[in-house]
């Protein structure tokens, strides 16, 4: 469960460049809820994810994961319960480490890292199983450098890494945006499957209206740091991509269509 109360984030506070990224956001996600987040550039989507992950420190407000207040907790400490996949496939894994070393690193998230070998036999067997389930034929390449994989393969591995150590919350920041259409679809399907399998409370930022409605159980739209739309259940089922685009235009003030509005699709 994630609960965000009156969350305010201001960048460059007290300077001429001051910008309010989140203007008092309230949002509660029940356990296992899968919420997609849309909004134009600068609406505060990534800031919201960053605040939940701990990368962004809020000026005021509270963030709770489960029933623990994590507002002031460092990202590394929160990582025990929060797993993330970034937009950039290069950011989510370590190119210079092997596939299995990356997996071993993720498997120990939130646990005490000791001096025992990171690639113990039973662990490797487990990794092989997990990677085999992907169906990407990577299970026999576990010793290869992560850097040798394609962006899509790395993103799929990042998802597997995110689900290795029993996190409660999954944060996805446009994790399919940098992939080719085929691979994006594969990663989307994988996301759906892994989230269901592990019962993860998920927050996913996306620029695709289609993806926002197809995936998950709830959709919110952010604009200038506020939640402008919050739909779930029947209302969400009836919502079409066109309807959502209309809503998006209205929220933005209708008239102007700049380049980021063209990214709606």
């Amino acid at each position: 469960m994630i609960s965000v109360e009156a969350l305010q984030v201001v960048f460059s506070a007290g300077t001429p460049l001051e910008r309010r990224a989140l203007a008092g956001v309230d949002l509660t996600l029940e356990e296992g809820e899968f919420c997609t987040v849309i909004g134009s550039n600068g609406a505060g989507k990534s800031t919201l994810l960053g605040a939940v992950a701990g990368d962004v420190v809020p000026q005021s407000g509270r963030i709770k994961i489960g029933d623990r207040d994590v507002t002031r907790q460092a990202p590394a400490r929160r990582a025990k319960r929060v797993a993330r996949v970034f937009q950039d496939p290069l950011a989510g894994s370590c190119a210079n480490l092997s596939i299995e070393e990356n997996l071993a690193l993720a498997a120990m998230r939130g646990k005490r890292r000791g001096l025992g070998s990171a690639l113990r036999a039973e662990r490797r067997d487990d990794f092989r199983e997990r990677v085999k389930e992907l169906g990407l034929n990577l299970e026999n390449r576990l010793g290869d450098r992560m850097g040798l994989l394609s962006g899509g393969q790395r993103q799929a591995m990042a998802l597997v890494m995110a689900t290795l150590s029993g996190a409660e919350v999954l944060l996805l920041d446009e994790h399919t945006a940098a992939l080719d259409p085929g691979m994006a679809e594969f990663v989307t399907d994988l996301t759906r499957r892994l989230v269901a399998e592990h019962g993860l409370t998920t927050l996913m930022v996306t620029h695709s209206m289609r993806q926002a409605l197809d995936l998950g159980t709830r959709t919110i739209m952010l604009h200038e740091g506020n939640i402008m739309l919050d739909i779930a259940g029947e209302r969400r089922k009836e919502m079409t991509v066109d309807g959502l685009v209309d809503m998006f235009r209205r929220v933005r003030g209708g008239a102007e269509l700049d380049d980021d509005a063209l990214r709606i699709g």
Binding site: A53, A74, P75, A76, R77, A79, K80, A83, R84, F86, A91, G92, S93, C94, A95, N96, L97, S98, E101, A104, L105, A106, M108, R109, G110, K111, R113, G114, L115, G116, S117, A118, L119, R145, M161
Partner: protein
Amino acid sequence: MSAIAFWGAVELGLIYGFVALGVYLAFRILDFPDLTVDGSFPLGAAVAAVAITAGWDPWLACLIAAVGGAVCGLVTAFLNVRFGILNLLASILTMIALFSVNLRIMGRPNMAVLNRETVVTPFYDLGLPDHLVRPALLGVLVLVTVVLLARFLASDFGLAMRASGANPRMARANGVRVGGQIYVGMALSNALTGLGGALFAQIAGFADVTSGVGTIVVGLASVIVGETLFRTRALFLALLACVIGSVIYRIAVQLAISTDVLFLRASDLNLVTAVLVALALILPRLRGAKGAVQ
């Protein structure tokens, strides 16, 4: 080059093998350009010289030197992690400070450790010629260090350290406290360098505050020579390559200096080293640029 000169070069190469391992840890694993070693090497030498002269056990002297080195690394890491001082600058500050500290430790600029009980003394009675005893003992010590270090880096903790250097953001997202890893890594790196300094003092028979000048460049040269000769991803071999690189570097220098054709003197050593390292850094880039044009 005579056999004695050759084995002397091997001996020196093995001593600086500890430095090369430390430099590898800082530069390659943590991606931390660390000049602290220019101060922690003479610190190790100074500490060992003072302790041995005071009649302490030479192995204990080595241990204290390593701990002293570790403290130097921690100071640099503290300046960088806690206060955000640029890593290179933080290490230069520690290095400069150590020059004064080392003078204080010895009470004078240099100190002889002749005719004292050192770590090598007991092994002279085993029947091997003296000039082979030293490389043999050092070889065993450095090999044990390589094995331990390789096992450390292959552990869960070591893996977190490697990730911290290679992709700190990803490491953080996976619950690694990157700052903590820098503390441990820098302490370990400079402990190895301090140990190298302690062995140097005992085998060369002196400690000198200026003996640290260029330690970082020699360490880096060893790492690069090792990497060029042994392209490997296996940790144990990569670490071993640093030590072998250090030995080869010393033999090459010995050869260059003992050949009259090159008009080189012993005092040209630093110039030659700098040119070698610069070339080693430039060559792969030139090759890459050529490949890109084609």
